[in-house]
């Protein structure tokens, strides 16, 4: 019933927006939207496959919650140089039901033909497709590879960013820098699952060079992550404090705020019908914290045959060490030591993905994708894993992406 309601709501909203946009006499207001109607399932009931930060994934029963979303955007042009934009996004995220968030809300000032400044809420461009990962129609793959996109915990900041664009001959150069404070929820899939709220001052910069069909982007972002209600970690640090391991407790926890850096290099190519998208990223703790350092990468190669684009991708993330060194007084084989040493390494996982995008009608794309997910350690990015389950899983999905 809920599903039918949602689908009906999506179509009603689409129709209403189109009708409204059509009749709106005001040239300065533009309303647009994007969305995905998706269904997916896996081949096991022993674990769930989810997008990053989703409270509910898919197992062996088909579900629409993994990929279905609806975004609505309004932009009002105040004058030649000033405009305002707001975007809301409905999807299944940290709650098991569909919820709506304000994802973008900013005033944009065009300083000149090459520079603009935005003040308000902007989505972080941490990685190559971070700021449009929810727009299915703008992407080749059905979902961003979780191996990489699961490494960056925060989505948007309330602050400001600056965009600068300049052409050096045939090379188009863009740089974007942002600063602000991110606030939001993180789903913690430990036990029955819980939700933690974070606050993270963040800043970052990216440089993009584009030459015809080739694009290369380098990005760096830092966040000072502070979480007071991270239940599983707080309970561990509480115990450590009781046993006198106060330094270790301080090192592991996030209640005092911990600096984490993300560095990535990525590129895209759309040349002679060969479509490539590839990226490598490092997550590094800049002060001691339980969150492990990781290296992640993925590569996607597709070949366009008219309106049909089949693709293959491989994605991977690996542990790259820990910023925390437990004291010698806490032996690895003690009960508490085992918990701490067990916590520190990162899960690891690879995926092989095949899929196809078919642009079968105006503003509509149909995608079918099969993910072969191979958790290497700690069940990878799977959630709600049954004890002892250690298998590779297969996830099959179909999605209809639309823009209006």
């Amino acid at each position: 019933m809920k599903k039918q309601l949602l689908v009906a709501a999506v179509f009603a909203a689409t129709a209403a927006m189109q009708a409204q946009a059509g009749t709106m006499g005001d040239d300065n207001l533009s309303i647009s939207g994007f969305g995905t109607l998706g269904v997916a399932k896996s081949n096991t009931d022993q674990a769930q496959f989810a997008r990053y930060n989703q409270a509910e994934g898919v197992s062996d029963k088909a579900r629409i919650g993994l990929d279905t979303n609806l975004g609505l955007q309004a932009t009002y042009k105040i004058n030649d140089w000033l405009s305002g934009t707001a975007q809301i996004l409905t999807r299944k995220n940290t709650s098991p039901t569909f919820t709506t968030d304000l994802t973008w809300a900013f005033l944009k000032a065009r300083i000149n033909d090459e520079t603009s400044v935005r003040v308000g809420r902007v989505v972080l461009p941490t990685f190559l497709i971070s700021d449009y990962q929810n727009v299915g129609y703008a992407n080749t793959m059905m979902r961003p590879p979780i191996e990489m996109y699961g490494q960056a915990p925060i989505e948007n900041v309330d602050g400001a960013d600056i965009n600068y664009q300049h052409a050096f001959g045939a090379i188009n150069f863009t740089t974007q820098a942002f600063v602000g404070v991110s606030r939001g929820k993180l789903f913690v899939p430990t036990g029955a699952g819980s939700v933690a709220t974070y606050r993270a001052p963040a800043a970052g910069i990216s440089f993009t060079g584009e030459y015809g069909p080739f694009l290369v982007r380098v990005g760096h972002a830092r966040a000072n992550m502070k979480i007071n209600d991270l239940a599983p970690i707080n309970s561990l640090t509480g115990t450590l404090n009781q046993f006198g391991f106060t330094q270790l407790a301080n090192d592991l926890g996030l209640t005092t705020g911990k600096k984490i850096a993300f560095t990535s290099i990525g590129g895209t190519m759309d040349w002679n019908n060969i479509v490539v998208q590839t990226e490598y990223a490092q997550r590094r703790a800049k002060e001691p914290v339980y969150i492990p350092d990781t290296n992640a990468w993925y590569s996607m190669v597709g070949y366009r045959v008219g309106k049909v684009l089949p693709y293959y991708a491989h994605a991977s993330y690996k542990d790259a060490g820990s910023s925390v060194t437990p004291p010698a007084a806490l032996p690895k084989n003690s009960p508490l030591g085992a918990v701490v040493y067990g916590l520190l390494p990162s899960p690891e996982q690879t995926s092989d993905i095949i899929g196809v995008r078919w642009d079968f009608a105006k503003s509509l794309a149909l995608k079918v994708q099969i993910d072969r997910v191979k958790p290497k350690t700690k069940a990878g990015s799977l959630i709600f894993v049954q004890p002892g389950f250690n298998n590779n899983i297969t996830v099959v999905g179909a999605a209809l992406d639309f823009v209006f």
């Binding site: 975007q87 033909d113 664009q165 309106k307 503003s363």
Partner: protein
Amino acid sequence: MKKLIIAALLSSLAAAGASAETVVIVSQKNPATRMFSEQASQFFLGKSNLFTPVDQAEGSHIRADFYQKVAEKDPAQVKALWSKLVFTGKATPPKEYPNNAEVKKAVAADPKAIGYIDKSAVDDTVKVILTLP
């Protein structure tokens, strides 16, 4: 006889299609005199704000043909690219006008505008800076 007429009609249509040349135009007040097709595509794909692009109607033949010629992209690829820019708040898509005459009027009125129309629709209110084969 009917078949002959239809054949004649079809061949004349084909000839008209083949001979239709698209030209890229700016206002007479715009100092630009010549442009390469790669440069023109920058404005229509949201990569430069130096000129303000003016587009033909979505779904029109001239529009599909234009993007194919300047950027080797079909309408769906162009739409996907603009979706990326629009929903990250980076740019707003070009304003659309229903026909050559309206595009020409909009370009003539704005010294920063750039548009494209059928060669046969050109008059002295606008300046041709590029002819597409």
